[in-house]
């Protein structure tokens, strides 16, 4: 991560220090600002905004992308980027930086430069707002944020090397309809769907791109002993760290984003009472979903020969050689499951158009019991209890959908009965796996 930040900072510094880059950026910014001034009061169509984004991208990708750095005696990467992926080896010196991180850092640098120029060249936009209007300033900031989210996947598509010119062109062009569709649909969902979609598109592009190249540098000297070690603690505190604080610190940017998103959304809601608050909550919940289970690599993240079947018990087996008590481990898994289920409940609460949604939260907490039970069963490899918990989760969610679909005029029992079913199913699925939390019998491997 640190080399990627250095690389990003270096690219920005390079752009700032180079007169050529500054001139190009200035031209691009003036062009965009002029266009924006013309259409700002008349056309706020996402397509127009997207065209701005593409124009920035076209202007700036050439000046701060990989093409800006030439390798002495070997020509410019720019002219050979379509020839073959092997060229990336010399185009990018063997920095201690993965090609994926490098592409992302380049794209972020492009976005930062673009937005910096916008912020510099559009003070009139802000000054035109009514004095003291926080909402207007927030709106300006929000627009810039949306632009950043829009430009990022485009920049990634543009900067990623491809095996052929055709593939590169296809990928760069194919991202445009996606961004357009997203631009049109996003206003219906809320402003905070933008970063989510941007994240999905960016990650998808990075996965599809040929950025998993390996440099042909010999092994020796590529690692330091210090890089392979971290400060030892007692196994219990280390487990606590890896399960809870570790994922948070490892994903600190995501956590900060979630925090900023939620706080900003609360402010926006207090100012405008629009639905962006709701979608912001949804975004936060989903980010939490992504953050915690993936951070701890709870499921499907163990490698063993012959693959990892769902009820193979690989999670516990992978920890089995470590000085960690199994029941402590499983309690952590159960707590993660509860948290996960709780996040699902919060997310369910954010459906704005469902009449019975206030019921979803409390009953969803009951369903989270079965989610936690299913996680424990999967972690330890208990097929039957796991299937029971999963079935209970499905029943709970199915029962939850019923009151949500009812109107206020429906009889009380039609609401109470599904709630009772959901709560009972949640408990039925969540309680049996509890026997594992203090278990002392032969471990299944």
């Amino acid at each position: 991560m640190t080399p990627a930040i250095y690389h990003f900072a270096g690219r920005v510094r390079e752009a700032v220090r180079s007169p050529r880059l500054l001139l190009a950026g200035l031209a691009c910014g003036v062009f965009a600002a002029t266009l924006d001034a013309r259409v700002a009061t008349h056309v706020r169509h996402p397509l127009v905004v997207m065209m701005f984004g593409l124009s920035y991208l076209g202007g700036l990708a050439s000046v701060i992308g990989p093409g800006a750095s030439s390798s002495p005696g070997q020509g410019r990467f720019w002219s050979t980027r379509f020839v073959g992926v092997d060229k990336l080896d010399w185009a990018h010196p063997p920095l201690p930086l993965g090609s994926r991180s490098r592409v992302l850092a380049e794209a972020l640098a492009a976005v930062v430069i673009i937005l910096a120029w916008r912020a510099i060249l559009e003070p009139a936009y802000v000054l035109a707002l009514p004095p003291g209007s926080w909402a207007g300033i927030l709106g300006f900031a929000r627009d810039r944020w949306v632009e950043a989210c829009m430009i990022l996947p485009c920049a990634v598509a543009w900067l990623s090397p491809a095996r052929s010119r055709a593939l590169h062109v296809v990928r760069s062009v194919a991202i445009a309809p996606l961004v357009i569709a997203w631009s049109l649909l996003a206003p219906r969902v809320g402003i905070w769907s933008w970063p989510v979609v941007a994240l999905v598109l960016t990650v998808g592009l990075l996965e599809l791109s040929q950025v998993r190249l390996r440099f042909t540098v010999p092994f020796r000297g590529r690692t330091r002993a210090g890089a392979l070690v971290r400060r030892a603690r007692t196994p219990e505190s280390q487990l606590w760290r890896d399960f809870w604080s570790g994922p948070l610190t490892a994903n600190v940017l995501v956590a900060l984003f979630m925090l900023v998103a939620l706080v900003s959304n609360a402010i926006l809601y207090s100012l405008s009472r629009d639905r962006s608050f709701v979608s912001g909550m949804a975004t936060g919940a989903w980010v939490a979903l992504l953050l915690v289970p993936l951070g701890v690599q709870l499921l499907g993240r163990q490698a063993r020969r012959g693959g990892t079947p769902l009820f193979g018990g690989s999670f516990v087996a992978a920890w089995s050689a470590l000085p960690v008590r199994r029941d402590t481990l499983l309690r952590g898994v159960y707590a993660h499951g509860l948290l996960w289920g709780g996040c699902l409940s919060v997310f369910s609460l954010t459906f704005p158009d469902l009449d019975g949604r206030w019921l979803i939260g409390p009953v969803g907490l009951a369903a989270s019991l079965s989610v936690a039970g299913a996680l424990v069963s999967v972690a330890i490899g208990d097929r039957w209890r796991g299937l029971l918990s999963m079935g209970a989760t499905v029943v709970s969610l199915g029962a939850l959908a019923m009151p949500a679909m009812l109107t206020h005029a429906a009889p009380v029992w039609t609401t109470v009965a599904p709630i009772a079913v959901a709560a009972l199913a949640g408990a039925a699925g969540g309680l049996p796996p509890l026997v594992h939390l203090g278990l002392r019998r032969a471990e299944r491997r």
């Binding site: 690692t223 890089a227 392979l228 196994p235 163990q302 087996a317 000085p323 008590r325 032969a442």
Partner: protein, 235 residues
């Protein structure tokens, strides 16, 4: 005065389905390489897993460093390295995996890890799920040895290893037992390797101990371990 044994077994009984492992009495002293040999299904892995605290026992006494490995896994596994060729490992890059594991051991030796990575020709930037079987075995060996455990328990460490890997394994095991306080227990079907490095042997068959004692005494000068196992009916 003899040093306290690292492993002490008396009347051990372990059930695994319909299979029963029974070990009347057995000790592992410090500074030894102990080979556990026997045919498939003899109970080697069951015994080693019990010693590592991965499997509960059903009778008798099993003490590792004076502790019950199942009841007090933290105390035992802090100083016991266990490796099995089918033990899952976290699916991440090797360097990140090693860094993650290092936090659990106060005795983690980063310099040793680096030298083991070179010795076993592992690239720390490789992803675990992309390793071949032999590379996976090498990685498991590295993780088991990295914290300089007092007792190293290796279950089929040579599985999937090529000749160079087996040589490196043997060198590493011999390095470990240069320290008189540390021991290695290994089970393997590569009998030539076991015969070459094991000071003591435990021969098991159908869950029963067939022979136990010093390797040279058990085998004798005029036959190989394979021939001896043939003679004992433990093949």
């Amino acid at each position: 005065m003899a040093a306290d044994p690292l492993v002490q077994i008396a009347g051990l009984v372990v059930h695994r389905g319909r299979f029963t492992l029974s070990v009347p009495e057995w000790r592992v002293a410090p500074g030894q390489v102990v080979g556990v040999v026997g045919p498939n299904g003899a109970g080697k892995s069951t015994l080693l897993e019990s010693i590592a605290g991965l499997r509960a026992t059903d009778g008798g006494a099993l003490r590792v460093f004076g502790c019950d490995p199942w009841g007090d896994p933290v105390a035992v596994r802090t100083a016991l390295g266990f490796m099995s060729d089918d033990l899952p490992v976290f699916a991440m890059r090797i360097d990140r995996l090693l860094r993650t594991l290092s936090g659990y051991y106060a005795t983690w030796d980063a310099a040793l890890v680096e030298s083991l990575l070179e010795r076993f020709e592992l690239d720390p930037r490789d992803r675990v799920w992309e390793l071949s079987r032999g590379q996976g075995t090498r990685l498991r060996l590295v993780t088991a040895m990295a914290f300089r455990p007092r007792l190293l328990v290796l279950d089929e460490p040579a599985a999937g290893l090529d000749l160079a890997g087996r040589r490196t394994l043997i060198e590493s095991v011999l390095d470990i037992v240069r320290d008189p306080q540390r021991s290695v227990i290994l089970s393997s079907h590569v009998l030539a390797d076991v015969e070459r490095i094991a000071d003591e042997l435990l021969v098991v068959h159908n869950g029963l101990v067939v022979r136990a004692g010093r390797t040279d005494t058990l085998i004798g000068d005029r036959r190989t371990l394979e021939e001896a196992l043939d003679a004992w009916g433990a093949v």
